[in-house]
């Protein structure tokens, strides 16, 4: 439009000056501009009518994996002399190969293909529209249309492998698993001694005890191992989303949640997930690969958020979790969370807290400074006191500096629960 105004202004100017000075030469100079305008008008494009289809090479990928995007554009209108086709990419995607734009001549019924490759971090990416601008060859007249060309793909979070995470909820489910169930029966770990029952294998007979009681035979009993209900709670409150050196503490928490879900589901447990931030997002409990996929897709979409209601953990909906089940909380924690977590323990839930260390995370990027160092030490002491009080309340804590793999931190903190620490029903 600006170019049209400029040319119109020049024509008017030359005509007015020519008339004012009665100089025919000035009027002659306006002729090239008038011819240029006339040519543009004659070849002005119609409103483009296009049929656009989109194909994506995958609808779910791992982080930073490439996804090829292919657009097919069919011209259902007349000849389009100069068409700029721009595929409007969602924010956050990085272009790896090719270009999402093309300038072409598009005769009627011709099909144009645009192919390019993108990648991106965790999240859901939706393609909505393609902008098509048709112009005449001299570029004075433009017709712009936004055509719908939907498509989406999801980038799942990385799932670092985790070895078995030792948990001991008070209540287990009926199916066989890997969690000691505090009940005697077939198993591996010695549980106790009972009277011999018909059918017990000979190798179970406890000869030492039997020798003390001449008229009776006693067998060893083993602790059954079963699956359990595990509830994962990911803290997605904005205050825990610390950023430093292009890294995000929340992303580590998301990956940790993915690893834990993978580990628990692999062992046959029933796993549910709750994200707690701007609102509550609850995933019903489930088993196996399907549940793993649901959890990973939910984690791909999760974002931190701020809410006055969910600012503290007071509104954690504990009714969603089966009584006496295992709750795993992935959170950096703050002092205000202590009361709620102790209440959870009082209700009979087994608590495992995976806590990414925010002080170590920020301290690594902060410049060496006496005041900062003092502040960091005070914050570390406060955190140590908080974690100690949680341990005293009976929660298992994994204090995790995120520069180390989670596997190491879990093994170091949890390892194997000693016999004397295992309560027996």
């Amino acid at each position: 439009m600006g170019r049209l105004v400029l040319l119109a202004g020049l024509v008017y100017g030359l005509l007015l000056i020519g008339l004012a000075t009665l100089n025919g030469g000035m009027l002659a100079l306006a002729l090239p501009i008038i011819v240029y305008l006339g040519a543009a008008l004659i070849y002005a494009p119609d409103v483009p009518k296009l049929q656009i289809t989109r194909e994506l090479s995958a609808d779910r990928v791992q982080a930073d994996a490439p996804v090829a995007v292919k657009l097919s554009i069919r011209n259902e209108s007349g000849q389009l002399e100069e068409v700029l086709v721009e595929d409007l990419m969602p924010r956050g995607l990085k272009l790896i190969e090719g270009q999402p734009n093309k300038v072409v001549l598009l005769p009627p019924e011709k099909i144009l293909e645009i192919t390019y490759t993108v990648s991106g971090p965790r999240g859901r990416y939706e393609f909505r529209q393609v902008r098509v601008t048709a112009a005449d060859h001299l570029g004075l007249f433009r017709r712009e249309v936004l055509s719908a060309a939907p498509g989406s793909f999801i980038v799942l979070p990385q799932v670092p492998k985790l070895r078995q995470v030792m948990i001991r909820p008070l209540r287990t489910r009926a199916s066989t698993g890997l969690i000691p169930a505090r009940v005697g029966g077939p198993g591996v770990e010695f549980f106790g001694v009972r009277e011999y029952q018909t059918g017990d294998p000979l190798r179970w007979v406890n000869w030492r005890v039997t020798a003390r009681y001449p008229r009776r035979i006693y067998s060893n009993e083993f602790e059954q191992e079963r699956v359990a209900d595990v509830g994962l709670v990911l803290d997605a409150r904005q205050r825990h989303d610390l950023q430093a050196n292009g890294d995000s503490l929340f992303e580590h928490a998301v990956r940790a949640t993915a690893s834990l879900a993978d580990a628990f589901l692999r062992d046959g447990n029933r796993v549910a997930m709750l994200t707690y931030g701007a609102g509550l997002n609850w995933l019903f409990p489930g088993y196996g690969r399907l549940q793993r996929e649901r959890i990973l897709q939910a984690l791909a979409r999760v974002q931190t958020g701020e809410s006055e209601i969910f600012d503290s953990l007071d509104y954690l909906p504990t009714r969603l979790f089966p009584p006496h089940s295992q709750i795993v909380i992935i959170s950096s924690l703050c002092n205000a969370d202590l009361a709620t977590l102790i209440r959870l323990r009082a209700h009979g839930y087994e608590l495992l807290i995976i806590s990414p260390d925010p002080i170590a995370f920020e301290g690594a990027s902060a410049q060496a400074d006496a005041t900062l160092a003092l502040g960091a030490r005070i914050a570390q002491r406060e955190r140590a006191i908080l974690l100690q009080r949680l341990r005293q309340a009976g929660a298992q804590i994994v204090d995790w500096p995120v520069d180390k793999p989670l596997d190491q931190a879990v093994l170091a903190s949890l390892g194997r629960v000693p016999k004397w620490a295992r309560p027996v029903r």
């Binding site: 439009m1 600006g2 170019r3 049209l4 105004v5 400029l6 119109a8 020049l10 024509v11 008017y12 030359l14 005509l15 007015l16 000056i17 020519g18 008339l19 000075t21 009665l22 100089n23 025919g24 030469g25 000035m26 009027l27 002659a28 100079l29 002729l31 090239p32 501009i33 008038i34 011819v35 240029y36 305008l37 040519a39 543009a40 008008l41 070849y43 002005a44 002399e81 100069e82 700029l84 086709v85 721009e86 090719g98 270009q99 734009n101 093309k102 300038v103 072409v104 001549l105 144009l112 060859h137 001299l138 570029g139 004075l140 007249f141 433009r142 017709r143 712009e144």
Partner: protein
Amino acid sequence: MLTRITYIVIFLTALIPAAGFALTGAWPLALPCVALGALWLIGFARRLEGLGSFMLVAFIAAAGVGVNLSQSAIWAPPTVVLALAAWDLERFGARLRLAEASQETREVERRHIWRLLAVSGLSLALAWAAMGSRLKLDMAIALGLGFLAILGLSQVIRALARESD
């Protein structure tokens, strides 16, 4: 290819009025044309936005000055035509840079250059023919025709503006 052609057209846009002024002895007008041309070449190389429009106005003004100084300034129409062409090619090059270079893009480039050549040739011929013809008109008729021309042009421009997005 397009970039090379644009450089050549900008060079000629500056050279022709400079030569025209120099041949009529108007050196104080020739040197600014050379300076403007050099500025335009540098600005194009650095992809400065908006410079093309300013230079178009400047060189058309130079052509107008030339016509005012001498009725037989036959270099004036080519100056306007070349300035228009350079302005157009600059914009076209910027538009092509938005997209990936491909066989289709080269086809668009080729057709654009041919279209511009045809329009430039026709407008140059018409402008020269107009400069060469002499019509004797009364002042009133001339003013009336001029007024009609401006009125008509306003309508056309308004219609064109409505057509475009």
